[in-house]
Subunit: 373 residues, 4 copies
Amino acid sequence: MDSIGIGLIGTGFMGKCHALAFNAVKATMGDVPRPRLTVLCDVDAAHTAQKASDFGFARHTTDWRAVIADPEVDLVSITTPNAQHREMAIAALEAGKHVYCEKPMALTLADAEAMAAAARKARGRTRLGYNYTVNPAIQHARRLVHEGAIGRLLHVRGQVDEDYMADPDLPWSWRCRAADAGLGTLGDITCHLVSLLHGLVGRITSLSADIAVAYPQRPMKDEPGKFGTVENEDIAQALVRFENGVTGVLSSSRAAHGRKSLIRIELHGSHGMITFDQERMNELELYVAEGDAATRGFRTILTGPAHPPYGQFCPAPGHQLGFNELKVIEAAEFLRAIAAHTPIAFDFEEGLAVERVIHGFVRSAEERRWVDL
Amino acid sequence: MDSIGIGLIGTGFMGKCHALAFNAVKATMGDVPRPRLTVLCDVDAAHTAQKASDFGFARHTTDWRAVIADPEVDLVSITTPNAQHREMAIAALEAGKHVYCEKPMALTLADAEAMAAAARKARGRTRLGYNYTVNPAIQHARRLVHEGAIGRLLHVRGQVDEDYMADPDLPWSWRCRAADAGLGTLGDITCHLVSLLHGLVGRITSLSADIAVAYPQRPMKDEPGKFGTVENEDIAQALVRFENGVTGVLSSSRAAHGRKSLIRIELHGSHGMITFDQERMNELELYVAEGDAATRGFRTILTGPAHPPYGQFCPAPGHQLGFNELKVIEAAEFLRAIAAHTPIAFDFEEGLAVERVIHGFVRSAEERRWVDL
Amino acid sequence: MDSIGIGLIGTGFMGKCHALAFNAVKATMGDVPRPRLTVLCDVDAAHTAQKASDFGFARHTTDWRAVIADPEVDLVSITTPNAQHREMAIAALEAGKHVYCEKPMALTLADAEAMAAAARKARGRTRLGYNYTVNPAIQHARRLVHEGAIGRLLHVRGQVDEDYMADPDLPWSWRCRAADAGLGTLGDITCHLVSLLHGLVGRITSLSADIAVAYPQRPMKDEPGKFGTVENEDIAQALVRFENGVTGVLSSSRAAHGRKSLIRIELHGSHGMITFDQERMNELELYVAEGDAATRGFRTILTGPAHPPYGQFCPAPGHQLGFNELKVIEAAEFLRAIAAHTPIAFDFEEGLAVERVIHGFVRSAEERRWVDL
Amino acid sequence: MDSIGIGLIGTGFMGKCHALAFNAVKATMGDVPRPRLTVLCDVDAAHTAQKASDFGFARHTTDWRAVIADPEVDLVSITTPNAQHREMAIAALEAGKHVYCEKPMALTLADAEAMAAAARKARGRTRLGYNYTVNPAIQHARRLVHEGAIGRLLHVRGQVDEDYMADPDLPWSWRCRAADAGLGTLGDITCHLVSLLHGLVGRITSLSADIAVAYPQRPMKDEPGKFGTVENEDIAQALVRFENGVTGVLSSSRAAHGRKSLIRIELHGSHGMITFDQERMNELELYVAEGDAATRGFRTILTGPAHPPYGQFCPAPGHQLGFNELKVIEAAEFLRAIAAHTPIAFDFEEGLAVERVIHGFVRSAEERRWVDL
């Protein structure tokens, strides 16, 4: 398979990120099928035409069903609001397309289950956009864990925080309504943490959670004195147990002033510890209980060519990859797996496992008890 | 009251720390009653004699009841193993002495309650050795919170980790037996975290906890092939609710490789955030949502004379206080409160509140449910 | 000008970096002329053909003069070894092309002067690849300095260190021979520091330097027992004076174990301080002498949309740009300036000023005295 | 020798620091002669009486010659302004006393030479208060260097910065007048850096320096509109060569906003690197070029009992020593050396070597050339 036709739905934050990745992936990696930028889709025709030109797409449309019907399109990238994921993904799968869907998977657990069911029956392959999981630093952490560098895993901590909803004066928006946005923090960012831990530790099988709304009412934009109700959580935390018996603690907030992209992970092992923070995504901290006590300490590993596929981007260590380049790695993995019929690290099945956890938070918090997933 | 006679029971880690504090407090602070180092007590006579000479105590004994009976002793410092706190503290209180007791308060919640009951009836004042709470950085954080610098408190995170039990080959010891040591991590270090949060946020009123033993069996020292059972927790975490409705997450481990004295606190407010880590105890991180977005960031505040009572130790900022100097501050506070009959920040009543939390962890974990305290 | 034809000479480290930038720049920025990837050139035909296919170039050649002669080529990117820059750049300028040349400018100061002279006479525009200077964090630092956020500049420190020559057992290579490589550390990395400081502070006008060779002999590869002489410096440092009277200190080493891409800058002002480190290229440290002494501290600013053109890459702050994305910014600036006939931040004239400094290091060190530049 | 009689001259910043050290040293270390706090001296009688009481001195006086004449005084601690060091130290030495003198040694190089000459002829021992050199982290760095942990030393960097003179509006004071204060930054803080490097690397033998006054005029206190001239340097930097041929760079400023006690050292070796910063004085950074490239990194070593004499203060690692505790270590070293007639790490001879360097800065800067020391 020399090339793969791409239909991209959405031109916003993650739509552009997909476009950049498809533009870069062949030049970066070499050994991947070439993505053909076939058709770009968004709701506004003029805007979409402009973006198609900028992004290098051959055609553009405002009809997402046309993307899916397009015979030149092999792979459909879905970067639209969450509420549309289910319909688009299932339609694309039924049309025999590969589906590259941004996270979170869907609005509700039922939606995610329907999507996974469709994927099981489909010829097309699926991938979710959990791009933090392909960071060379994270891939190296996974290797270290699996090689036993820190011994047996004992305990895990995870935090994910941003501050895009930290300002109490931020007006009410669709993000605050469950029918539009589904979950709050859990769907936006906690799911990233869960995706990382499922790869590093194993699946979470039970949890006891608590959730909170920081600001139950937000002012309505341009309607002085009116307020809208915030229907989803700003803050969420849980005690968790993994399938291998490891205990852990997760916490997350979209109202955490000063945090821009913090995803902090601590892996406690019987022989050492690994920590990571996405705000310093090119670094990994490693402590190994070896050697003279007087010279032990957490070491800061800067990623470089020793941490594949960093070397595809730059032959010099410590020069730093960026957020967008994680999407290039992810796209390369997906394109290669499609061409070679090999397993996909984060397909809809894996995505569903993440959804079970984040929706489990809400169930546990509402019932105020431990729940099994 | 010009001077206060000190009887110190215990010459180990914290015994020496008390001795150093009593030697330093008058020279450091000036405005405190002078501690008279009256009598030192420990179990080995020769060792105690030597330490009395080194520490500058006038007399020494191996009979702790003699310390309490000594008419020149006004204040009894108890730095012995936890199992002895109850008997010694109550005897000292009944003898009309002031009692300065190291943490954790006691072996069991019942013991702690008995001690608090004795204190309520006694003439003598009480203080627990939660010395981290008097750190100028922590006192400043408390002021910032109470002045509203970070707005309304929304959420709290706390971690406390050390690695003194992280090595799986470390032999079994009395620390592993409930009858001798009581709790594990919870009594050793989690209590410090709780003591800090009670001061910064308010009292914890309910929690859902999980605890784990990292290494259920440890090799018996000098008995090849034999193993002893570890009866108390290595790892403990909880979701918590504070009296003011704030939610939080606590986690702690004495098996956290690489951590030597980590006590990390995050205070999430509606207008900013404060973080602290005891391993960098002279620093405080503050983020305030003010000013141009392009220049906002967490600032690292180095403690100095602007953070009382730092200036009593050194007139130059950023020169660093040490762990032992926190005990000097604590001792000064206690001596001043005794002399002036003013309230004591961490008396047995406050200590009992901490004990309720750490014993609540065990109850919640055993019953696998939220518990009210 | 809708599009600009690109001829790229070189497919190595920086050749690929240019190719990635030209692939990404239109999709990232929108408002730039579209680069047409016209022809790629390198010495090995098969390799070049493969890279042309991967990078998306329409044609390929092994004859760099053919690139310059190509009527469809408007802009020639030169990413070859330094010894070839002079000939290629002058030929391209004489052919009326725009020239985008990687740093350092040339092998010798005379070469750089000849290139700058050719540029002065040419119709084509020039740009040097000092991509660190376009980092949003650095651009923000420049704004802060110019707006007076840290008051009057008093003093400057700069460090640039890597460890690609730190291993004493690394075999001798062309990098060690002056005729091939020209300068050592000074040409490889010190020039980056100078380029940054010229933008942040002003031009350096005099200096007193010292240079050293860490390992005067290196083993010849595959010739056991034979050694080659290292003809250029591993370590270089200087006291400097800037045109505005500010004093400074620069130091640099390519033999600095553990440093991968460290470029540390300190700008001392009468009202505050700014520091930066390229190994954490998405962060800027700012201290301003304002407000309550108890809350002052260095703040860590994470770059985001408030720091243009970060927002072109990602609408969410703190998500991190990478090294390659700096080249996208640089390419965009060059393409826009060509189209709009506006000034270019780092043309050959600016590049020559950097060369004067790094060659001034050698002169000062050899003559063991202060030199004017 | 069971005990040593102490006469302390000065009750300010460093006077109190000495008093605290003498109060703590026996209890902390055990194996030292007991300091007898014989007599305290300062200029104001009432103040001195109060301090003598607080510090635990048996007697007090306002006549420093009486301290030196006192037959019960064996050791004279001099913590007065620099201008008085020469006269007091020589008088004490001539009276047969041991002299413990705060840094810098004296006002002028001639003064320092006279003091060293007096020490050579005296029976008493001498020690300068370069307390940063006894930090367990620094002692460990010295061991690592001497054991070859980072291979052969290639290059050294050092910085020392504070901001006590950073505010341009700070009024003129005696610190600005050469006749009272001698040197500026060089005498206050650069000397600390030199003291550390002499121990870690070897003696500096030549240098090329530059110095600058940040604010040549300062407002006179309580004299509106009047200004005084600043006669000594705010900023000083130098290229240096050590006796073993190692090159280095030193820089320092007392006008460095935000720096409170920064002393940053980088030791570049052929096999690794060590860095240290006094603002995090309980940490040492170590990089060793060993093991898998993918797991190499700078490790942060937290000092603990593995770094003597930390364990004398606290048996638990990472609990942090403070600035004042460095003086306890220094005092213990001096007392032990006096009792045992063993060499002293930082006697007047070593102090003179430091003075030669800092006065060499001024000579080099004035003559604008390299100078040999």
